[in-house]
């Protein structure tokens, strides 16, 4: 592009730009292709991969990951990152189990947690936005604060308690939605996805998220209320973490704060594998849904092949890099 004024001719690298756009359209399909290929690999390599039992358990596990990664996706589009998600999941799990055992109704706990989501979102998003502190550090500190708060409340985190029966049924493999043989948690995931997709696509908030993520300065000149958007998005992220934690309470069986730990990096992996750029401004939750399924599929195959937990972790690392390679960035020379 010429330095002063608009280019009058097509830029010299027009052909390259065209092919870059075409490649961009292709790479958005890459995670879907990976999903299909991994499914075939699993079918061939792992015994019982295409059994009803395995597919149902995959759906349940992907639902937890997909719901946890819903807020993370919006945060990443905004140009931030949320490292407090492990703590919010643990908080949701412990709060639901402990408070329900103490005689609270489920809806009361949910209402309370909705309030907590706003507080967590205001602290994480507000501080990151108003004081321009890197969101990585703010959410890291926020995660420590939530962890400390929960440990103080439960005097150590290991508390007795039983989760509401609704959540146990919802997340157990083999339960059905009426006549449909799918665990009901999948419905919750679909509902969450619908909400997030509508926010991202059809609301002012959604447009503001993309605007701030792709160019904060331009968004400011377009009178986007930066602080409000950041607080709203981090609130949504806290809410999706808490929701995932609440659902996990039925799966885990008792109060366990550490239940959120794996989701810290897995939620980021699901976002990235799906093809949302960590630089912000592009991607979306539709991609993360595919990403969550892929990350889960990789895990299932690695378990099925018979790797021990340590090697599973190592191979997951290899796969994340390989899958992410599909969505590699443009060369620097195209951005000069």
């Amino acid at each position: 592009m010429s330095a002063g004024g608009l280019p009058l001719h097509r830029p010299a690298n027009w052909a390259r730009l065209r092919s870059a756009v075409r490649r961009e359209q292709l790479t958005s399909l890459a995670p879907l292709a990976a999903l299909g290929v991994l499914f075939l690999v699993g079918w061939i390599v792992v015994d019982g991969f295409v059994s009803r039992n395995n597919i149902e358990s995959s759906l349940v596990l992907s639902s937890f990951l997909g719901i946890s990664a819903a807020g993370q996706t919006l945060v990443v589009i905004l140009g931030g990152i949320d490292l407090s998600v492990a703590a919010t999941i643990g908080f949701g799990e412990v709060a639901m189990t402990v408070l329900y055992s103490q005689g609270f109704e489920v809806w009361e706990v949910l209402l309370l947690l909705a309030g907590c989501a706003i507080v967590i979102g205001a602290v994480n998003g507000g501080i990151a936005s108003v004081f321009r502190v890197p969101p990585l550090i703010v959410s890291l500190g926020g995660g420590f604060m939530i962890t400390g708060g929960v440990l103080m409340w439960t005097s150590g985190g290991a508390t007795q308690g039983t989760a509401p029966q609704e959540f146990v049924t919802m997340t157990s493999i083999g339960s059905t939605i009426g006549p449909i043989p799918v665990p009901p948690i999948v419905l919750v995931w679909i509902a969450t996805a619908a909400v997030v997709l509508v926010i991202q696509r059809f609301t002012t908030l959604g447009r503001n998220i993309y605007a701030l993520g792709s160019n904060p300065e331009a968004a400011r000149l377009a009178l986007v209320q930066r602080n409000r958007v950041w607080i709203a998005v981090y609130t949504l992220s806290a809410a999706s973490g808490l929701l995932s934690g609440v659902l996990l309470s039925g799966f885990a069986g008792g109060a366990d704060f550490t239940v959120g730990q794996p989701y810290l990096f897995d939620s980021i992996a699901a976002v990235v594998v799906g093809g949302t750029s960590l630089l912000g401004g592009s991607g979306g939750y539709g991609r993360t849904i595919v990403g969550a399924l892929v990350v889960n599929e990789i895990g299932t195959i690695l378990v099925g092949v018979g790797f021990d937990a340590a090697l599973q972790e190592a191979m997951l690392g290899v796969f994340i890099v390989l899958v992410a390679l599909a969505g590699r960035e443009q060369h620097l020379r195209t951005r000069v």
Binding site: R132, G148, E313
Partner: protein, 339 residues
């Protein structure tokens, strides 16, 4: 009054001003710790404390070059790599010829170099975001360490466990920092900051952005190797679970030390001071008998508050375009010139 003093202050500010807040905090914490914990001021107390915080300090230093290299640069894999080193030494490099310093040190530094090279090449040639690449290698290194770990225990050669709590600990850590300081006198350091500040401008100016970035990851990997040696000395055995805990803390130390996570501004000395801040805050919380369950609450709040003050005082924020400190330092220098 001599005229050079305000000028020198301005020079110091321009070179190390990014770490000013971390340094103020450090001085305050040092006084508080020395008063509350007189053992620290003794030779053995100091050396014990030093061997405890040396791995964190070096890991914070190790993350810094990748952060400086910009474009979301960050290296998450270095904490697990230090843990991997303890497994490597505690399980394999501990007997006979393999346990000798002239084998262990090159092997550990070489592994760090290879890890940095892998990270750097995938980031630059593979054109992936650093956080994804190093998350991948984080999982790989953690998994390998777990897989080859003998559970717990392991034995380390005598010369390594002798490092902990002795002056050679200080010597090794100091040597690593001095090596970096020597590097900052070279062209490479300017290139690194230029690439970190704006890679497009650097590319258009003819710099080899890929090579400069990759080198930053390699330097980080080798510094993490030194951290791994000191961590092995500290725990005197092999433990695959200890490494990953360092990852997020070392990044917090980098940010606290005033290095911009956006790249191109800051430096390694700031990260060292930031890591010392974190160590002394934790030490102070322990000394003050803060209940163990509220430790992370206090730690998280302090981290966030410190970062807020750091942003307002030291770096650009929306309302203070040059930061309070910069304006003051420049004013003092100008007054000094005028008199």
């Amino acid at each position: 009054m001599t005229v050079w003093l305000p000028r020198f202050g301005w020079f110091l500010f321009r070179r190390y001003g990014y770490a000013a807040f971390a340094t103020f905090v450090f001085v305050g914490l040092l006084i508080a710790n020395a008063v509350l914990d007189p053992v620290l001021a003794t030779s053995t107390g100091f050396l014990d404390a030093f061997s405890t915080f040396a791995p964190l300090v070096l890991l914070a230093a190790a993350v810094t070059p990748s952060v400086l290299s910009g474009h979301g640069g960050i290296d998450l894999s270095l904490g697990p790599f230090a843990g991997f080193c303890t497994v490597l030494i505690g399980t394999y490099l501990n007997t006979g010829v393999l346990g000798q310093a002239y084998v262990v040190v090159p092997v550990v530094l070489g592994m760090g170099l290879v890890l940095g090279l892998v990270n750097g090449v995938i980031v630059t040639i593979g054109r992936l975001q650093p956080i994804v690449v190093t998350l991948g290698t984080y999982l790989i290194v953690t998994g390998l360490a777990d897989h080859y770990s003998p559970g717990s225990g392991g034995t380390v050669p005598g010369w390594i466990s002798a490092i902990s709590g002795s002056w050679s600990d200080v010597g090794i850590a100091g040597g690593a920092v001095v090596a970096w300081l020597a590097l900052t006198r070279t062209h490479y350091y300017r290139w690194l900051l230029a690439v970190g500040r704006d890679d497009r401008t650097a590319y258009a100016s003819g710099m080899s952005v890929a090579a400069i970035r990759t080198t930053a990851y390699v330097i980080g990997g080798m510094l993490a190797g030194v951290a791994g040696l000191l961590l092995t000395a500290l725990i005197s055995g092999s433990d695959s679970t200890v490494g990953p805990n360092y990852t997020l803390t070392s990044i917090a130390a980098v940010a606290l030390g005033g290095t911009s996570l956006a790249g191109g501004a800051g430096g390694l000395l700031g990260s060292v001071v930031g890591a010392l801040d974190i160590f002394f805050i934790e030490n102070l919380l322990t000394l003050a008998n803060v209940p163990i369950f509220s430790l992370s609450l206090a730690y998280g709040s302090i981290l966030v508050v410190a970062m807020v003050i750091n942003g307002v005082v030291g770096r650009q924020s929306g309302r203070l375009p040059h930061g309070l400190l910069r304006t003051t330092a420049q004013f003092v220098a100008d007054v000094g010139d005028a008199t």
